[in-house]
Symmetry: C2
């Protein structure tokens, strides 16, 4: 048995290295690559993907898995080897159930769709993208069909990003969440708005960068094992637990956005640095799911980075970078400004209270398209109507509405929900952490994040992808993903800020 | 035939992409990678090398080559396809003649030797490295033995870097060169030394960087298809003709070194950007040889970058960056300082007049070791004696002497000569260029480098590795590599500066 396990782990080890190579190229592509290099980089990445795909779907893996299965059945099902086997088998099946012909069509169509989406967004004209999106919806359905039987045709899509999660679960969660969030937003709208006019000025780039680096070091992002650079769209890429790259973007007229992006990606980065080193070159390396990943970024960005104790500690530092801009603004004023709620068109700029509604809209649309109840041609209207129903605003054009996100052009159906689920999970974890660690607020106010990080390391990070997300969250919090803690959190925090 | 050619070119295309991946990882490793990432990067690069080696030596290539040979024999031997076949076959034979067992021993022993060399250099103690170097010498001899018959056992080593070049050729060239260079250095020693005391001050980094970027743009380094970054050891890496990375290093107490390094790597970079795009994904992509590559860097660094017309144009710009340091220094004074000749211990810091002697010492040692006339244990003494004979100075320790270069620990026997040959070639090309382009000095003095670059593009760059180096140089200059133009150049330039 050990020989077979090692044989499979050797294959995974090679795949780890090829993935490392692709990640470095992907990171370079959006940080330092000169524009002229795009085409050759595209070719190189395509070749690497092809090699990785061939090695991932090598029938030899299937044979080893089959031979191993009876031996693994003898092990403690919670042992690393048993779990590793399960994750490996799940991955292999996902990769091999889709025929090569389908993957080739998928790759080709999404690559065309990406260009069309760019053009459509630029011209703010949905009809340019519409035929491509129609093709992608058909491909998504076809993709699902390889994973029968399922409870719902959307399940296999969701399962790509949230292993084990069902459409019915997400619908239940979102249905409980939506009315309460709409209600909270209404209450905020009926209250006097927060004054953040002091932010309408210029905050030079260097100061924002330096302050962001201070925050990164403070929360425990290890610069010996990672770094931050600039990119147009902030992201995190872990080449390994010992080399984690995050990026940020800084706008001189938007102090909050760059800072929060740094904390957000920093949270993702801490997760990437915290996987069990023993998993480094096998299938247990990596996040439990996208929602668990997002719970980490949102915890550092929102639960910590938008809290009053945090700013009690760091606001004087921020003032020292920007004395003329912030010298006369109190920490309480600043805290309220950082938490201003205002319905807006663009998801990635949405605040904590409205964000999940942006996601719910997208899930409704994806379900409608996949179930066949919504036509692609109807999307702009559906989008605008729903935005008005949830947030009371109507996008002035498609670029600010249905065309804003890149995801569908990449064929990423099933992805969006994980953002909202991540918000919910972050608060579930936070509540339990607060039961287990004394006086967290006091520690944050001292800039002491060691115990928080240690708790996340031990309860979440170290497990890598050993557990399915719902299983992991239940193990740590005693319940599966649950909207109630998030609702309580929103009500309490924004009730206090907006006085309702 | 075309089908077979395309089949082989598809393989080379895939290898281009894998090489691209390895180059990006190698570049990142020495520019931005956090220190903690070293081990995982090493693993990823090793895996990629293994895959590249397997694909390069795939017996299928040998079969296609064999099948193609009679068809290729019908073609014009100077056609791209015929030359491509020749280069492909040569490469395949080089890769496959060495048995896998030998390559594995080689990889293992050189990897150990690199660590030992580092330790030895740090402690300035040759005996730490001695046993490893002994192993490497034996491996180098064994490596040669796979390429019998040869005229000289050193030929196959040289041929790795200078295709077609023979040991006898290099010896003849160096024997003609050595006495004249020793004589020139003696004449310089007997003349009053140049005053460069005004350089013994501080030149802030940012100004040096900005000035270097100005120079890069001026000489035609296309920042849309390349970039410059920092690294401990400057180098050039072309991921493709459309993405060429160069690096520099800047010391605040050494203005000349950083500037010249930028021009040097810039020259390499222009070559990498200039290969025929039609060769991009096949075996004709790349330099004709290392000496031809070096001729390009040395031309921009020395023939242009250390010329009086160049500084007549750029010295006022340099003064504007460093007005307090250089405000009272004339361009003639500066020109003489940039060309100060002074025997020194370290090759990479050597001036134009002494540099080749550093190389000749290394070739003598390599030949002695490979022929068995010098023992590894004798190297420190041999080194110091020869340095004294050639340059009149004796290194105070092994770190400043025999341990200074990394090359031998990597097993790079046969490499050093290409540096000196590159110097010779640069002047041969320069002389012909001066016959064919009017008033080059005047153009340099106007900062007009377009015609120079165009000439290099058409005569050297575009050919990639279609021609062997001696063939290419003869094609352009009418003679093979010849030391006389370089000797004339040195005598004339330094006779004028030092007045002999």
């Amino acid at each position: 048995m050990h020989e077979l396990i090692n044989k499979l782990k050797d294959i995974q080890s090679e795949l780890t290295d090829l993935g490392h190579a692709a990640s470095v190229m992907g990171w370079d592509q959006v940080t330092y690559m000169p524009p002229g290099g795009a085409e050759d980089r595209g070719n190189a990445l395509a070749t690497l993907s092809k090699i990785i795909h061939m090695k991932t779907t090598d029938p030899a893996i299937g044979e080893i898995l089959e031979e191993l299965e009876p031996h693994i059945a003898q092990l403690d099902p919670d042992s690393d080897d048993a779990r590793w086997f399960k994750v490996t088998k799940r991955g292999y099946e996902k990769q091999t159930r889709m025929p090569v012909d389908f993957i080739m069509r998928w790759t080709k169509e999404t690559s065309i769709a990406q260009m069309k989406w760019q053009e459509a967004r630029q011209k703010s004209n949905f009809s340019i993208f519409q035929p491509n999106l129609e093709t992608i919806v058909e491909l998504a359905k076809e993709g699902s069909s390889f994973f029968t039987p399922y409870d719902h045709i959307y399940d296999p899509l969701l399962d790509m990003y949230e292993p084990g999660m069902k459409t019915a679960d997400v619908k239940t969660i979102f249905e409980a969440l939506r009315p309460v969030q709409v209600e909270i937003i209404q209450a905020i709208k009926d209250s006097p708005q927060v004054d953040d006019s002091f932010l309408n000025t210029t905050f030079p780039k260097q100061g924002q960068w330096d302050f962001g680096m201070e925050l990164l070091k403070a929360i425990g992002f290890d610069l010996n094992r990672g770094r931050q650079d600039y990119s147009a769209h902030p992201f995190t890429s872990g080449f390994s637990i010992n080399d984690v790259r995050i990026t940020t973007r800084i706008a001189e007229d938007d102090l909050i956005s760059g800072m929060m992006s740094t904390l957000h990606e920093g949270g993702h980065g801490l997760y990437e640095m915290g996987y069990n080193p023993a998993y480094s070159r096998n299938a247990l390396h990596g996040a439990a799911s996208l929602s668990v990943h997002e719970s980490q970024s949102r915890m550092w960005e929102n639960l910590i980075g938008r809290s009053l104790p945090f700013w009690r500690k760091y606001y004087p530092r921020l003032q020292s970078y920007f004395p003329t801009q912030l010298g006369n603004v109190t920490v309480e004023q600043f805290y309220r400004a950082v938490n201003k709620v205002e319905p807006s068109f663009i998801r990635v700029e949405a605040d904590e209270a409205t964000y999940n509604l942006h996601i719910m809209l997208r899930l409704e649309i994806e379900l409608g398209l996949i179930e066949g109840n919504i036509k692609v041609a109807e999307l702009p209207e559906y989008w605008n109507d729903t935005m008005h129903a949830y947030l009371g605003i109507t996008p002035p054009n498609d670029a600010m509405g249905v065309l804003q996100d890149v995801h569908w052009s990449h064929g990423l159906f099933g992805y969006f929900s994980t953002y909202a689920l991540g918000n919910l999970v972050s608060v579930q974890l936070w509540d339990v952490m607060n039961e287990q660690i004394d006086n967290i607020d006091g520690k944050i106010e001292q800039g002491e994040f060691g115990e928080i990080l240690q708790w996340l390391r031990e309860n979440i990070h170290v497990h890598g992808s050993k557990y399915e997300p719902q299983e992991l969250i239940e193990k740590v919090t005693g319940s599966k993903i649950d909207p109630q803690p998030y609702v309580n959190y929103l009500k309490q925090k924004y009730g206090q800020i907006y006085g309702f």
